[in-house]
Symmetry: C2
Subunit: 190 residues, 2 copies
């Protein structure tokens, strides 16, 4: 098996289109707001609406694919940090990254609910994959002594969800978010 | 002025009805869910739907009145705690109370948005009154040394909103909420 030399150009094009549609959809729906629509995604991706629907039969399928890709990408980042030289720094940096990323994720999740999707199935599986990876970072940070040993993933994940929702909900400015995380991180420290 | 001896019974009845409608509405909409409606409120309050609409011309006015009353009640509780013997305990207990109360408040707030209300005006003013009262409890706890002095109300309120939303959003069980608050409180301690 040396790649797919016999693959026809159309199929490669289709893959490119799919990726571009997902990129644009992540951007458009991640910003939230009333104007976000599949039509706008097609326009900005430079494809016809029929092409979007060929890849994603419903708006919910499109949004699910966007969320799954985001969760997978974040999970991969978390897994890469399992080799970090400073496990405490890796854990706190990744916590901060997830909170910074939250407004976009929540906007896409809300668009999915509005579109009649439920976030179960593949989306829930991808979200669980990310949660497990955060659990790995937590354990590693606890073993290094950077995070206290008497806490477990459920309450840490609840804090992650909470600080994320606070940051996204109130559209807090970055300084307040940073000051909020100082408090949480002091509470988490070993 | 010795009360209102000349008040006609109808007016006293109207006040009783208003209070009962608010109690029932708080209960019905606080539970959330699809079945919550003004009709159900009228039925459970034992009044006609016309009586509800005489007091509250729209569903949004009703929900705003429910929220204002809740915020006012919580503000009064916070103000009463300004005389507490242990200011640290008062602050942490009130923080815990607000988080426990959050699911109901968020459900009513969401029903208000669905009903076309914006939560501005009286609701925002009542919410700000509560926020100021929490600021008073925070300052007092900081002066007593129970809470660290290098933090301010915006980040503490962000944490309060965040932990509340985490608890309400994921319908976390009480033990996880309690464990999450242990971490936050350790971060807040002086």
């Amino acid at each position: 098996m040396t790649g797919r030399p016999s693959e026809r150009p159309q199929r490669a094009d289709a893959r490119t289109n799919r990726g571009r549609i997902l990129d644009v959809a992540e951007d458009v729906f991640g910003k939230g707001g009333e104007s976000a629509s599949t039509e706008e995604v097609a326009r900005l991706a430079g494809v016809g609406i029929a092409t979007v629907f060929r890849h994603f039969p419903t708006k919910a399928t499109l949004l699910e694919a966007v969320l799954v890709r985001r969760f997978d990408r974040l999970r991969e980042q978390a897994e890469a940090l399992l080799d970090a030289a400073d496990p405490g720094e890796a854990f706190f940096d990744f916590f901060r990254l997830l909170v910074a990323d939250a407004a976009t994720k929540i906007a896409i999740g809300e668009a999915l609910l509005d579109a009649g999707g439920d976030g179960d199935g593949d989306t829930a599986e991808a979200a669980n994959g990310l949660r497990r990876a955060v659990g790995g970072l937590l354990r590693q940070a606890q073993q290094s002594g950077a995070v206290r040993g008497d806490i477990e993933l459920p309450e840490v994940y609840a804090l992650l969800v909470g600080t994320s929702r606070a940051a996204a909900h109130a559209r807090l400015d970055e300084e307040i978010v940073a000051r909020m995380l100082v408090i949480v991180f002091d509470g988490l420290r070993g």
